[in-house]
């Protein structure tokens, strides 16, 4: 079984701060990490490798620097890493990204595709389903557990708002995984040593045989109109009062607003 995991390198959004003077994101010094939902997917793939002898291939789309992250995945025990990188892919929305990934996946071949549910920078949760659509294969999103693989059938548990579903799907299928489903393994010393002799395969636009109108900005139906950081609302009234007066003022306000009911 050939498992391909889609992985994105993202800025650690918990470390991002806004420069209040300029209203822009401070990105300098923000560490890049492997997107948490994707890392959960890598862990599931590595577990399947251990139990079924599957191979694990990583596909990532991003700038050339993302190859450092892919080296760290070699150091966790994956078999092959492919980085899709080209200036022509810049500005891609999920529609164009999924077209690009699908072209790479067609070229690679696959039995099972795992993608993280969503990336912590964009939070769209769209690339997994859209890639499945482009490849014309089914999808199971919000997968919380991979229960078993039997021949060409995979059994998974999907987490919904009010219930869980046990689902059977025929391979090939795209699964999107949730970061809480496992504790991703660390790198390990042996695989770190071995990773020094492994290269990340780099594919550019010319390697994918895809129409230029389907990638990058040109292939993206959504455009960014504007961006802004949250403006601080100025109408806050702040009080520094003794505790008892604070309590009185809050209660009085709630009463006036009819928020205290008998």
């Amino acid at each position: 079984m050939k498992i391909v995991v889609l992985v994105k390198q993202v800025p650690d959004s918990t470390e991002i701060r806004v420069d209040k003077a300029t209203g822009t994101l401070i990105r300098a010094g923000v560490p890049s990490i492997i997107n948490p939902d994707d890392l959960a997917g890598v862990e599931e793939a590595l577990k399947l490798k251990e139990t079924t002898g599957a191979t694990v291939t990583i596909v990532s789309m991003g700038p050339p620097q993302a190859s450092e992250m892919l080296k760290e995945l070699y150091a966790r025990g994956v078999d092959e890493c492919v980085l899709i990188t080209d200036r022509k892919f810049a500005g891609a929305d999920t529609c164009a990204t999924s077209s690009t990934l699908a072209a790479a996946l067609d070229k690679l071949g696959y039995d099972l595709i795992i993608a993280g549910r969503q990336a912590i920078d964009g939070d769209t949760a769209q690339v997994g389903p859209q890639t499945a659509e482009r490849l014309g294969i089914p999808q199971v999103t919000y997968v919380d557990e991979i229960k078993a693989v039997n021949g060409d059938t995979i059994t998974v548990k999907k987490a919904l708002e009010d219930c869980e579903q046990i689902i059977e799907a025929k391979l090939p299928v795209v699964l999107t995984t949730l970061s809480g489903m496992n504790n991703p393994r660390y790198m390990n010393c042996n695989d770190i040593v071995d990773s020094m002799n492994k290269e990340v395969t780099v594919w550019t636009f010319d390697d994918l045989g895809i129409d230029e109108s389907k990638v990058g900005l040109a292939g993206s139906p959504t455009k960014v109109h504007s961006t802004f950081t949250k403006d601080v609302s100025a109408d806050t009234e702040t009080f520094t009062l003794p505790a008892n007066e604070t309590a009185k003022l809050i209660a009085q306000t709630l009463k006036e607003k009819q928020l205290i009911t008998k």
Binding site: S13, T14, I16, V18, T94, C95, D121, G122, D123, T124, A125, Q126, V127, G128, P129, Q130, E133, P138, Q139, V140, T141, Y142, L160, E161, C163, E164, Q165, I166, I167, E168, A169, V173, P221, T222, K223, V224, H225, T227, F228, T229, K230, S233, T236, E237, T238, F239, T240, L241, A243, T246, A247, K248, I250, A251, T253, L254, K257, L259, T261, K262
Partner: protein, 340 residues
């Protein structure tokens, strides 16, 4: 004149399960009404799309909540949600009726279905919108300005789909307010029969395990008292104040991570979005991850010892002080106010 020949009206995918319609569909219809009202000269309608089996009688509810028309697709393959059959049916509805825009709830179902359909028809889809308005400069195109948070709520982007139709977006439950239904409203119910080319299900649900939801659903509470790390030592008092107000306690991620409360009570980007009438933030610093889940509350009162706390910038009233001291006194004041 029209740039997109034949595309018209705002459609809302109305999610249902076992014939029960989720509120988010009605919230989106209420918002769609405001959108069409902002471009009266375009004469747009609000249209609900209802997929399922034996659900035709629900169409009137959708109309009562503000839809002018409802497209009902009633088919036994649509009885329970399936990505495959729902995507096939919804795509055919879009191709047939040509919506100018299509809004879907950002639920697990909506986030499974909408991207699949958008890819199939190469339409632009914006995820998890928190604000939608008509571009005042592109009213004749009914161009939507769809705003959404990114980078964990640190940055907001306004997204447009200038060249493709329909313009699609998903919106989280509770982001928009739901108007009260009007049973006297009338509207048109259109039945549509899809043509399923492949009726062999590729993905099969073998078993459904209902989650036992313990305690309360904070997304349905009208009054919430939120506890942050600064209130970890007095969570009982937070609960007591909430109880006096007839509300419930909710928490920031830090409090959940520290093991003081259940994940079901988490408000924020990785938790739930709430919009109660009143939110009292106790010892909450106001990290954007949390604020993203509660800043739509009608009234926000914050208590924090740190005058620099970000929470004050989103609150209507801010009190600098120690929650451990203030909450017991507040509880007494509320009891007194009730008696008065």
């Amino acid at each position: 004149m029209a740039k997109f020949e034949g595309y018209k009206d705002i459609y809302v995918f109305v999610e249902q399960k076992n014939g029960e319609i989720a509120n988010v569909g009605y919230e989106l219809i209420s918002e769609a009404r405001k959108l069409v009202a902002s471009i009266p000269h375009m004469n747009y309608s609000v249209v609900g799309i209802l997929l399922g089996h034996n659900i035709k009688d629900k169409a009137q509810d959708v109309i009562a909540h503000g839809a002018d028309r409802v497209v009902v697709v009633d088919h036994e393959l649509l009885k329970d949600y399936s990505t495959q059959f729902y995507a096939d049916a919804l795509t055919q509805v879009i191709n047939e009726f040509k919506p100018d825009s299509l809004l879907t709830g950002a639920t697990v179902l909506g986030r499974d279905l909408a991207p699949r359909v958008a890819a199939r028809i190469n339409a632009g889809l914006t995820a998890d919108a928190t604000k939608i308005e008509m571009d005042p400069e592109k009213q004749d195109e009914a161009l939507l300005l769809v705003t959404r948070p990114t980078f964990g709520g640190n940055l907001f982007g306004t997204i447009i789909c200038p060249d493709t139709r329909p313009q699609m977006a998903t919106i989280r439950p509770n982001v928009f307010a739901m108007d009260a239904p009007d049973a006297s409203r009338s509207g048109e119910v259109i039945e549509f029969q899809p043509d399923f080319k492949d009726t062999d299900a590729k993905v099969v649900v073998k078993e459904v395990i209902e989650k036992v939801i313990e305690g309360v659903d904070i997304t349905k509470c009208d009054i919430l008292v939120g506890a942050g790390r600064g209130a970890e030592n007095c969570l009982d008092m937070v609960k007591a104040v909430a109880a006096e107000l007839g509300g419930e306690m909710c928490c920031t991620r830090a409090v959940i991570d520290d093991g003081f409360a259940d994940k079901e009570l988490q408000v924020g980007q990785t938790g739930k979005t709430v919009r109660p009438s009143l939110y009292i933030a106790c010892g909450i610093s106001g990290a954007c991850q949390h604020v993203a889940g509660m800043d739509k509350s009608d009234m926000i009162i914050a208590i924090n010892r740190d005058p620099q706390a970000e929470i004050f910038s989103v609150s209507n009233m801010g009190f600098i002080g120690n929650v451990e001291e203030i909450l017991p006194l507040l509880k007494d004041e509320i009891i007194a106010a009730k008696k008065a």
